[in-house]
């Protein structure tokens, strides 16, 4: 009884759309409805993979997500190690760092778009002004796709780095301090302690988080790619990902067949990847497998 409202919401907004993937195999006409529309087999997929878009969006999605996973992990670990070193010295400062670094996590991509725009817009942006101040020339950032893998990685690290560093810091603080005391008495340097105690003890947590991210590598962060790039068509070669493609194809082009084919492709491959990464977790750290 208690569970009824929650289960109904899940049924309507999660399970009904799952059955909706049959749209990808149909010639959807709004007036005929999902059930009434004609079956067309794999035709939608055939059309999708005939275009150059398919390769582009898959490659972009995988490439950018791989970049994000690696850089967020490295930066978050580095910050967490720094934060751990100052834990004992000044509580106030330690709190200040944590809060500041976590802060960007609170902003929506709409707001982040404003931030990035203040930095990068052609005529008034801080970056171009600084470039010109040192004798460089202004760059039209929003028309130069080659810079965007780096820009979006920086944005992702800025937004999520603090969040993950707190997760890893919590993991580090849970490590038995006796280990460090013993190592210090033994004369082990800080670096050796990090390498031989901290990182090995964190390994299960790192593995889980990385594998979970890999499980979701087929899903792009729609807000990041849609808002922060201002959806500029000039940037599509680098920033068009599956999620933005599905959205655009559905809403501005109105091609339900193509959009649902791309979405279904994503859902199925994504599902397989999640199962695969969980299988990997189970093999490496059986107790931390998710299911």
């Amino acid at each position: 009884m208690m569970m009824l409202p929650g289960l109904i919401v899940l049924f309507v907004f999660a399970y009904l759309p799952m059955f909706g993937i049959i749209i990808a195999f149909k010639d959807y006409r709004a007036y005929q409805g999902v059930v009434g529309s004609r079956w067309v087999g794999l035709k939608n997929f055939y059309y999708l993979f005939e275009t150059d878009d398919a390769r582009r969006i898959v490659v972009n999605t995988l490439e950018m997500n791989a970049l994000f996973i690696a850089s967020v992990l490295l930066v978050a670990l580095a910050i967490a190690l720094l934060l751990k070193e100052v834990q004992g010295s000044s509580r106030w400062l330690a709190k200040f760092y944590q809060s500041t670094l976590f802060f960007p996590y609170l902003f929506s991509y709409v707001i982040i778009n404003y931030f990035v725009f203040a930095l990068l817009n052609r005529s008034d942006g801080l970056v171009n002004h600084s470039l010109q101040a040192v004798g460089g020339s202004a760059v039209s950032w929003y028309q130069s796709p080659q810079y965007w893998p780096v820009i979006l990685t920086l944005v992702t690290v800025w937004k999520n780095g603090g969040f993950w560093s707190i997760v890893y810091l919590a993991g580090m603080l849970a490590i038995n301090p006796e280990l460090y005391e013993a190592a210090t008495m033994d004369g082990a340097s800080k670096w050796r302690q990090i390498w031989h105690i901290t990182l090995p003890m964190l390994k299960p947590l790192i593995i889980i988080n990385v594998l979970l991210s890999i499980g979701r590598i087929f899903y792009a962060d729609f807000g990041l790619f849609y808002q922060v790039t201002r959806n500029a068509p000039e940037l599509y070669p680098a920033t068009d990902v599956i999620d933005t493609y599905v959205y655009r194809t559905l809403t501005s082009i109105g091609d339900v067949g193509m959009a649902s084919a791309a979405g279904t492709f994503q859902a199925v491959i994504g599902f397989v990847l999640v199962l695969f990464s969980n299988w990997l977790v189970r093999r490496t750290e059986p107790q931390s497998a998710i299911f």
């Binding site: 799952m18 990808a24 760092y97 942006g125 013993a182 033994d186 105690i197 979405g263």
Partner: protein, 309 residues
């Protein structure tokens, strides 16, 4: 891992102890503080830029570009925004309504869902847990959701479309379930002996004991609703129902929105600084909320973050 590395180090302990742990002066630690300070500043930098722009005049922005400190501080942009407030007030009202209703309803519905799943004596526990969990693994994606909401439910252009899709978030259901499961079982048994029904047990025993977990989930729900523009982008066409973030999005894609509306009033408008001022107004409440309860936020991260997301 602990068991394997401990003995190795213990064996090493009898060697000569060094003093390094209690050295009073530590240049290394100072360097770390310096790095962290610079990093914190870098992380705040975009925010400073935004606030500064919102306090600058339009001409200063076009002369000097965006700067960290306004050349001359002016509240013109805020005055402009607050003088023509109808659209912004409406957007604020929509956002607040959606956030409050969504958060309260979401926490209640998720807690009600999580509680039976936490009870080991509930025989449907495993299959229903899986029902919740499966939605994390697989989703139909945008197209079916879009068609469902617009064609079948026909709740586009209503507040329902902004609330319902985010009402049940499986991660938080599991977070709550884990918390409920950690509560002492004897309390429930004792209440049952006293003749309390399941609803009473839930509301009078479980809920009061679970305040920290419920507060954390509520915080993150509120953040989700406050920051959402995606559902509005998909489902809202009626300007009276546009939430704040969506209004901001529209302004950024379409500076003319502001310009035309201001020409109607016959004023010279501070387009860029006004945009930034609205953005500051949108992040103000989050910032204040964060400063007030940052402890909960950060403990929430470690509570939910360890299991990913």
């Amino acid at each position: 891992m602990q068991s394997s590395s401990l003995p190795a180090i213990r064996r090493a302990v009898p060697s000569i102890p060094r003093e390094s742990k209690y050295r009073p002066f530590r240049p290394g630690r100072l360097a770390i503080h310096a790095v962290l300070l610079v990093l914190s500043f870098l992380f705040l930098l975009p925010l400073i830029l935004l606030v500064s722009a919102s306090l600058s005049s339009e001409t200063d922005i076009s002369t000097y570009g965006f700067t960290f400190l306004p050349h001359r501080v002016t509240f013109a942009a805020y005055e402009y925004v607050l003088q023509n407030p109808s659209q912004i007030v409406t957007a604020y009202a929509v956002t607040v309504t959606v956030t409050v209703i969504g958060t309260l309803a979401g926490v209640l519905v998720m807690a009600l869902l999580a509680y039976p799943l936490s009870r080991t004596d509930f025989s449907w526990r495993r299959p229903l847990s899986f029902v919740v969990f499966f939605t994390l693994l697989f989703s139909g994606g945008l197209v079916p959701l879009y068609i469902l909401v617009t064609h079948y439910l026909q709740i586009q252009d209503t507040l329902w479309a902004l609330i319902l899709p985010y009402l049940v978030m499986p991660w938080y259901v599991f977070l709550l379930r884990a918390y409920f499961a950690g509560l002492p079982r004897e309390l429930i048994d004792a209440a049952k002996v006293d003749g309390a029904g399941e609803w009473r047990i839930f509301f009078q025993i479980i809920v009061p004991l679970s305040r920290p977990a419920l507060a954390t989930v509520a915080l993150f729900c509120a953040l989700t609703y406050w920051n959402d523009w995606y559902l509005a982008l998909l489902f809202i066409n009626n300007p009276a129902l546009e939430p704040l973030q969506y209004l901001l999005y529209q302004i950024s894609t379409n500076i003319e929105t502001l310009q035309t509306s201001s020409q109607a009033f016959g004023v010279q408008i501070p387009a860029l600084s006004a945009q930034m001022a609205i953005a500051v107004l949108a992040i103000g409440p989050i910032t204040l909320a964060f400063l007030a309860v940052q402890k909960h936020f950060i403990s929430g991260v470690t509570l939910g973050g360890v299991k990913g997301e």
